[in-house]
């Protein structure tokens, strides 16, 4: 399978800089990029035309800001300590999250469980679908061309780059979110955490462990 024209990663840049050829600028700079200007124009026109409200836009930003890996960590920690909850979580992700007061706005959360002989990883090769309603916005690398290209083809090489290695007796299963379902990995509970509280356990559950590029470690 050949591809004549490969640009590698999708040109995301360090914090504060704008993509392409613009020099480093502080966060929230005045719009200089063509599409940044377009984004301002779109927002203004939509508000003026009454399609959206300024408060509504602000509220949605806050709503998104409130989501993050800490929510997924709570869910995972509870599943680790409560086998009956875990069964409910695996059967119906949104319902189990709602039990903890986490509303997923119709997102079809599907939890895939790691086992001693099975490790799961998540990707969206076609765009960058991600369980946003639970984990918040995805990291740039998850949306990058290199991740999207390689993880279905050579998952273990990608895992190695993230510092994760698995025995060849462990099946690596890559989930490509091509349609309606959104996934998180339920990692294996680390050895040495017996008797830990849910709160302490949640501290071990990072974003990367729920995407499946890292394994939780008891510190």
């Amino acid at each position: 399978m050949s591809h004549g024209h490969d640009h590698g990663h999708d040109h995301d840049h360090p914090a504060g800089s704008t993509p392409q050829h613009h020099p480093f600028q502080p966060d929230d700079p005045p719009p200089t990029g063509h599409y940044q200007v377009m984004a301002v124009a779109l927002r203004e026109l939509l508000i003026e035309k009454g399609v959206l409200g300024a408060d509504e836009i602000r509220a949605q930003i806050e709503r998104m800001d409130a989501r993050g890996p800490h929510l997924g960590a709570r869910v995972v920690a509870k599943a680790w300590t409560d086998p009956v909850y875990k069964a409910r979580l695996l059967a119906d992700g949104p319902e189990a999250c709602a039990e903890l007061g986490i509303e997923l706005d119709g997102m079809r959360l599907t939890v895939v469980e790691d086992k001693p002989a099975l490790h799961n990883m998540i990707v969206c090769t076609l765009c960058s679908c991600y369980p946003r309603a639970l984990l918040g916005l995805p990291p740039a690398w998850y949306k990058s061309a290199d991740y999207r290209k390689r993880v279905v083809r050579e998952p273990r090489a990608v895992l190695k780059e993230f510092g994760t290695e698995l025995l060849s007796s462990v099946e690596v299963r890559v989930h490509d979110s091509t349609a309606e379902l959104r996934y998180i990995v339920l990692p294996l509970r680390p050895v040495g955490t017996e008797g830990w509280s849910e709160e302490k356990l949640a501290g071990l559950v990072t974003r990367d462990t729920m995407i499946g590029v890292a394994l939780p470690r008891a510190q």
């Binding site: 490969d6 990663h9 984004a39 779109l42 509504e56 998104m64």
Partner: protein, 112 residues
């Protein structure tokens, strides 16, 4: 792929976005904060699809039609911005004329 010889796959049929399995480089793991303008674009796409102004499928479709050069050189939120603009024009919510005029005004005044 899929047990077929390479020349059986019409590579011309591959959309630029349809990249699973292609060779790539090391994953750049550098983290960077999502800026305010990007969060605003994200909010627009969530609200506009929630209100059924257009569907997320139409949004994705427009991104896939951007063309190979644009797709690979634009950033993630630049692509969404272009798609939102396109779909709003497609649906007659805004015109190219009013968008262009407003963009020129914003650029001249340095508005955010």
């Amino acid at each position: 792929m899929a047990n077929l010889p390479d020349d059986d796959v019409p590579e011309l049929a591959r959309g630029i976005h349809d990249m699973g399995g292609l060779p790539g480089g090391a994953v750049d793991r550098h983290e960077h904060a999502v800026t305010l303008w990007e969060k605003r674009v994200d909010a627009l796409l969530v609200l506009l699809t929630r209100k059924d102004v257009f569907s997320v499928d139409e949004l994705r479709n427009a991104i896939e039609r951007l063309g190979a050069e644009a797709y690979t050189s634009m950033s993630y939120y630049e692509r969404w911005t272009a798609s939102i603009a396109w779909n709003l024009m497609q649906r007659g919510v805004i015109t190219a004329d009013e968008l262009g005029r407003r963009m020129a005004e914003i650029e001249a005044e340095g508005r955010q």
